[in-house]
Subunit: 567 residues, 2 copies
């Protein structure tokens, strides 16, 4: 980011009007995030940077900014790119159209499958992108010791990458119990960083103090207003998340005030490309926040400057000389209607197609044996069984106890009462574990849904009404080397392969979305009432989110951080 | 600043209430600079850091915080410690009493006398202090090529120190013309830094753009509201300065709003210890700002968080776990009445006396020959003479043309019309230059004032009514090896030696202030009407402040950056 003397000289020359700009946006209404004023002026851009605001006329390209507003490019403060299932080149095109010029990513999904090669892949991709992809170092691979991942990233590995990329933060420290109870590996990782990205769902009081004291400086897991407000008062930056399976904007909207604005940011965490295309990204959060009465200055700060500043990215978040020329041009400021996006001085709409590919070794990652219905037998035991309650739009699950149908000493799903069987099948070729449990709330009446995207270890996660459909779905996934499948009556009714690490498609966004739409339609055909059935299925396996989850080692109580007793 | 695993473990243990705190402030009203709320709670401190806010009872020391408010320690965003004339240990005690726990300093006064040894001295002092002294690397030693300093600090030297202290910024880039005109040395220094501390008095438009484009991220030289407001809109943090000879708070008060608060900070730049004792420091700026109707949250942010965050000091500026335990306890929030200051977890009032000394080599720094009245002869030439107009409370001088008394082909001072002769005498043993000029506005009726504190080259600067008194004052200064003297009728009426580099006393604050008071009284006895005669005298020689100045090479026009033609 540092400019050489020669680069500074060119910037100064362009600022003074002595050197022709690469790009001029003429007569645009600049919305200043410092004082909230709007200034009608030209913006001169050279070498990807803003050189000056004022009267500038000499530019290789001139965009007429009359009747447009200019705001700084948006920052997604926390995202797992893998949840878009698009390779970074496609991801970039998709989000740039929504004004997102900086994404701060935690590559822990891919790292759970391929280990530190995930860091290598994302850092290398970041160099090839026009948008700014900030890669942080995943703290929790695997998320906990209560599951089997494809790889482990230990503190020695983190130290190595921190030395290579000293500006990186420790990404999303999910193992909060490990931190509080003094787990040596967790502390060894934490000690390498001043800035630790947090993950503190429903954590408060002394435990929240302890997280902050250890260096946790932000959290994107607030689902309650009071929870987020407490974090603010403990110096923790609140990332307001609006992802596909976790929608917190409506709840946290009252937080977006002028007072709080430096201390709140927007993020998506996990968002599907279909949702981005249909509902928008941070642009949509801005639009909704302002429509709900939030102060526009507070909202646009939250969308860019606050997140950038918090992440130490001092070269962006303001439209000012010397900053990155990441500029969103809007025809309507309050409705955030995007007309053009400039990224690092280039018009995003004119960027060439990306040729960025995944390495061969990321293919063929589903390494488990084919299964039969018998593999999903749950022996009868106690009268009441732990059942995971899922709810549309929330990653947090309920801990339920239910009496299930029993036949021949086995417990079965009870679709009539919206209780399905669920399984997590280790798929990295490590041990072939199968964890079994039951789920309430999907609405599925018949058939099964399965995915290799199962946070964060990314084993196969499946729910279904019968053991036969469950087995059929799992076998289809193995056959297609990852992705999503829908099965009814033993037959695959829709499928979408994720050949790269079981997480990514290698096709383009349009094709992907069209196929995803078909899978979603097929999923709805099972009776599923969840708005994002696969995203929610993916989070069923994440043991660091309250309250009850399922890993390849069995049903897990995230509140006391241990597996529940056998059925 | 990074904590080891063991330190983090202790912080976590204390936060959880499992380990006894070093200090507890019980039942205090914490004023949160994130959301502006006030929370009544205990603050637990261990190892110099805040561990938690909430209910804590086990502490080695307990301060009863009932009826008190707690706010984060104040940050002086830009200061030359040398202007206090106190060695750092004394300086610390003085400002801590006013709540200042962080001072961000530019050591360029001392560097102009002793070169890079000034960096060594301040970095080493910073390690020994309880307060946080942030030392940046002086960009302009000397300030310009239009004067003779005791040393030069070139880009090679700056690079060396930047490698030793990578967190340092480039301090106060005063040579703006050098930057704009592409001076290679200036650009070479600028290219080493993303963060350049600025100095942009009255600079606006494309020139201001150029400064920002080059990496200038702040400025403490705004003297007009519109000037400061423009800087904000160019992404330049505005440091509102209230120094002894430069008082900008009243003018810039309207800038202190909730909107602007993240982008404004307080600083003193140059402040006399007498003024600190009698009028206060940042505490006084807070008090006056709130009394004038500024929003208290905006004011307290400006006083700590905004400056800290701007400087990349993420470990302070909020009372939150993991942050430095720099805490100001107030009996009145709006009036900023300080009851106790905690610095890095320790009660400032109980700190032992400092034993910090200056190295022997900083003594005996006034190396010029004795002078006679004849050395100050100004030959008569043009009818009108350039006269520097000074005004109480401003560093900016007026460019005047006046007709002076002429006798025997020589021009003389004209005390009846408030025009005195001024001289700057090179005192580093380099060339013995004497620059001569005239000054309007001091009010002096008889006698002379002289100082070795003459920004930034720190030659001897003197003004007087007769050449005889001028010579007597200069010789007295040489005799006492620097400091301040007042002469009337050829006799020294008061003197205060600065034996360390001609800039610092080596006595204690109380003694210094008592002697300074005598010098000030003697200065007033000359008829001088300036509130801070010596501070203003010191700035007479600084050629990077508009409009007309005097160096050892002659009268200097700071607007066109060249010396004026001969008289």
């Amino acid at each position: 980011m540092k400019h050489s003397a020669e680069q500074k000289k060119r910037l100064i020359g362009c600022a003074l009007g002595n050197i022709e700009a690469d790009l001029i946006i003429s007569g645009v209404n600049v919305f200043h995030l410092t004082d909230g004023s709007t200034e009608k002026c030209d913006i001169a851009v050279i070498d990807g940077k803003i050189a000056g605001l004022g009267c500038y006329s000499r530019g290789k390209t001139v965009i007429d900014g009359t009747d447009l507003f200019a705001v700084p490019g948006f920052v997604d403060s926390h995202v797992h790119l893998e949840s878009s299932h698009l390779l970074p080149g496609e991801y970039e095109k998709l989000v740039l159209a929504h004004g997102v010029t900086t994404a701060i990513c935690d590559p822990h999904e891919l790292a759970n499958v391929v280990g530190e090669k995930a860091f290598e892949f994302f850092f290398s991709a970041a160099e090839k992108l026009s948008m700014s992809l900030i890669v942080n170092l995943s703290s929790c691979v695997p998320a906990t010791g209560f599951e089997t991942a494809g790889a482990e990233v230990d503190s020695v590995t983190i130290r190595k990458w921190k030395e290579l990329h000293p500006e990186s933060t420790l990404a999303e420290l999910m193992n909060v119990p490990g931190l509080l109870f003094g787990d040596e590996e967790v502390l060894a990782k934490a000690a390498l960083f001043d800035h630790i990205d947090g993950h503190c769902p429903l954590i408060s009081g002394k435990e929240l103090n302890a997280c902050a004291a250890a260096g946790v400086v932000n959290c994107h897991e607030s689902t309650l207003y009071a929870e987020a407000a407490e974090k603010l008062r403990r110096g923790i930056q609140v990332f307001i998340r609006e992802g596909s399976a976790a929608k917190n904007l409506d709840t946290l909207l009252p937080l977006i005030t002028l007072e709080n604005s430096p201390f709140i940011s927007f993020c998506t965490d996990d968002i599907s490309p279909l949702e981005i295309v249909t509902s928008g990204h941070i642009d949509s959060m801005i639009r909704r926040a302002i429509a709900s009465g939030a102060n526009p200055l507070a909202v646009y700060r939250t969308a860019s400057w606050s997140g950038a500043k918090h992440a130490g990215l001092n070269d962006r978040g303001l439209l000012a000389p010397g900053r990155r020329a990441d500029i969103v041009l809007l025809s309507d400021l309050e409705k955030c209607i995007i007309k053009e996006v400039i990224v690092s001085g280039k018009q995003a709409s004119t960027l060439p197609d990306s040729t960025l590919k995944a390495p061969e070794e990321f293919y063929n990652s589903v390494k488990c044996q084919k299964v039969t219905a018998d593999d999903f037998t749950v022996r009868s035991g106690k009268t009441e069984t732990f059942v995971i309650g899922v709810e549309s739009g929330s990653l947090i699950t309920e801990k339920l106890m239910r009496k299930l149908p029993v036949k021949d000493g086995k417990k079965y799903a009870d679709p009539a009462n919206d209780i399905l069987k669920a399984a997590v099948i280790e798929r990295h070729g490590k041990n072939g574990n199968i964890g079994l449990g039951f789920v309430h709330g999907s609405g599925i009446k018949s058939g099964a849904l399965a995915t290799t995207v199962a946070h964060d270890s990314h084993n196969i996660c499946v729910i279904g009404t019968t053991d036969e459909d469950i087995a059929a779905a799992v076998n289809a996934l193995i056959q297609q080397q990852g992705g999503l499948v829908v099965v009814q009556n033993g037959q695959v009714t829709a499928a979408l392969p994720f050949p790269v690490a079981g997480l990514f498609t290698d096709c383009k966004t349009e094709e992907f979305n069209s196929r995803l739409q078909k899978v979603m339609t097929a999923a709805a055909g099972t009776g599923c009432t969840l708005q994002e059935p696969f995203q929610q299925l993916s989070f069923l396996a994440l043991p660091v989110i309250p309250h009850l989850k399922l890993t390849d080692k069995g049903v897990f109580d995230a509140d006391i951080f241990q597996h529940v007793p056998e059925n």
